[in-house]
């Protein structure tokens, strides 16, 4: 909006920011990291870098599912419940060997994604409602499964392989889960920019009517997106359980806002068609460092929460201001 009235020089750097949001976001990340290092010692040690990457990984993977949905103009509010459920199933079934347990956990993701995708794609249910209802269903299923002799009752034991992958160290400051993250990131970045499905995802988010007229089968694109989203959610849940060393029916719930926020800060528009996973990666890193900074400050949990909400809001505001990417009118 204001870009049109600004001086040409100002418009240039704004244009650069619009074209390459990663540049500005990297700047924010570096500044934030340095500020954090002044408050929390050890941020520049191997261990400081490692813990940042380690903690950013599950968030970035949950945010990946959010990014995919948001690119089509949707949102997935069932990610965290899917993550919880998948991690719980894996830990509960770990007696049957890692392959079966991990397979079952991914099946949870596939099943959730299939239902979400059919609802949103075929029956055209509003994504917000569909995934909200799904979160409700999953919460109920987990609760019912846990009480008495439900299907989730019984002992839970974390898979050793998860513990190794999620919290081990590859070399130096590089945690092992970075491997998983790197594979996901490479697949998403390549897939979104170079494959037919990737372009279709952007197109559906940008203008569904034009897509339909151009012969794109929108329901197939949406089905694929929600399937991918739920599988990524399951993966994120598994990695989180490996880091925390335990499973609980609501352990990743606090990640719902950060996962949406990471995508928004990373420049993905919640209205669809704009954004990408590179920005989301930086968004997830920024939020993780921010969390570390708030933990270093000597305040109560309550104030930390207030600050977190306000800073997320401020970052989103600045981003929208600078790039002129406005919602609605």
């Amino acid at each position: 909006m204001s870009a049109t009235t600004a001086a040409p020089a100002a418009r240039d750097w704004r244009q650069i920011l619009v074209d390459r949001p990663a540049v500005a976001l990297s700047g924010v990340l570096v500044v934030l990291y340095v500020v954090t290092a002044t408050q929390a010692p050890g941020m520049f040690s191997f261990n400081g870098v490692r813990s940042t990457l380690l903690l950013a990984c599950p968030l970035a993977i949950l945010a990946a599912s959010q990014t995919l949905c948001m690119l089509t103009g949707g949102i997935d509010l069932s990610t965290v419940m899917t993550a919880n459920f998948a991690a719980y199933v894996a830990a509960n079934q770990s007696g049957q060997g890692p392959l079966v347990a991990l397979g079952l956990a991914l099946c949870v993701g596939l099943a959730v994604g299939l239902v979400n995708g059919i609802g949103v794609g075929v029956f055209k249910v509003n994504p917000l409602i569909m995934t909200l209802g799904m979160a409700s269903v999953l919460l109920g299923v987990v609760t019912v499964g846990l009480v008495g002799d439900g299907f989730l009752s019984g002992s839970t034991r974390l898979l050793p392989v998860l513990r190794t992958v999620a919290s081990g160290t590859l070399l130096g400051p590089v945690p092992t889960n970075l491997l998983v993250w790197a594979v996901v990131a490479a697949a998403l970045i390549f897939g979104l920019s170079r494959t037919g499905l990737g372009r279709a995802i952007y197109a559906v988010g940008d203008n569904p009517v034009a897509c339909r007229l151009a012969g794109i089968r929108i329901w197939q694109v949406l089905l694929a997106v929600y399937l991918l989203s739920a599988v990524l959610a399951a993966l994120g849940g598994l990695l989180f359980s490996g880091i925390s060393g335990s499973v609980g029916p609501d352990q990743t719930n606090a990640y719902l806002l950060p996962s949406v926020a990471a995508a928004v800060i990373g420049g993905t528009s919640i209205l669809g068609g704009v954004g990408g996973y590179t920005g989301t990666i930086l968004g997830a890193l920024i939020l993780t460092v921010l969390n570390r900074l708030l933990l270093a400050l000597d305040t109560t949990e309550a104030f930390r929460q207030i600050l977190y909400g306000l800073i997320v809001l401020a970052l989103a505001w600045v981003y929208v201001r600078v790039t002129g990417q406005r919602g609605g009118s």
């Binding site: 409602i129 209802g133 409700s136 309550a302 989103a316 505001w317 009118s329």
Partner: protein, 336 residues
Amino acid sequence: MTATPQAEVHTPLPRPSSRLERFGRRQGWVVGVALLLAALVLWRSSQIPAFGAFEVRGIVAGTMTLALLAMAQSVIVISGGIDLSVGAMMVLVNCIAARLMLDQDLGTVVLVAVLVVVVAMVISGLIGTVIVVSGVPDIVVTLAASFALAGLALVVLDGPGGGTNLRFQELLVGGFDQPWPAILWLTGVLLVVWLPFKRSRLGVATYAVGSDRAAAFLSGVRVGRTRVIAYVMGGFFSGLAGLVTTAFTGSGEPRASIGATATLTSVAAVVLGGVALLGGSGTLLGPVLAAFCLALIPPLMLGLGWDPNYAEVARGIIIIVVVMIGGLLQIPRRSR
């Protein structure tokens, strides 16, 4: 030219719709929800041997919070937004009220009640202003706000505690077998606050902004101001919801998950109540009735001898199925 007799041309005039048709189109969904509620209440009453004032009071007073939150969400959705912080606002108001009302006489308590509702309106108006001024989508702003508000609630009250005046509780939600205060308050709010608002210029502007922002702007509606006022109205209703929570439980509880669950249920009630998420249509009566329907599910399941934990599953499925049916009903209308 004019002399040649023109062939009889039949321009098909649109048939004027009858009063009944118009009523059906506008209020059909609400009537459907009302019938569903009536059926559920009948079912529930057949489950309990003595269905009297005590049970009615339990249902009405227990659901009042949710009904008020559904109203808050509806006003905002009608104006074309969505507020994921209504539940957190309710928790915050509950905590402030419980802290200030502890061991006070009725006069002070009523004063505090008015004050906290005003606080809720101001905060909500602030959220609305941020949305309008910043251009950040509603979902993002209110999601972030829900975090901040939940933190604020923890600052006010760091654990379950606080209290209120017994007389105030009876006035707002009624004694154990007094269903009337709760019923009267709910209908009162609908009749005294919502109906005049809906009929006023502001109300019409709210619907206009929700249905087409650009068209509303071109017809001279002050879009930004109208959207902020919708959020202030939402704050009013969520503030009331917080007060009712305080009166119903007699204490304050700063747990964030209560707010999150309440927010999700309020969105569900809005959708079930026939308010389109796209904005610009629906009324507040539908969501209120829908809130009662949703709240009746757990006791009904208990009555059937099922695990009430299935209620969460049933709620989710009902929401999805109802929206699917709504979507299918829309298809013939669209293609016409």
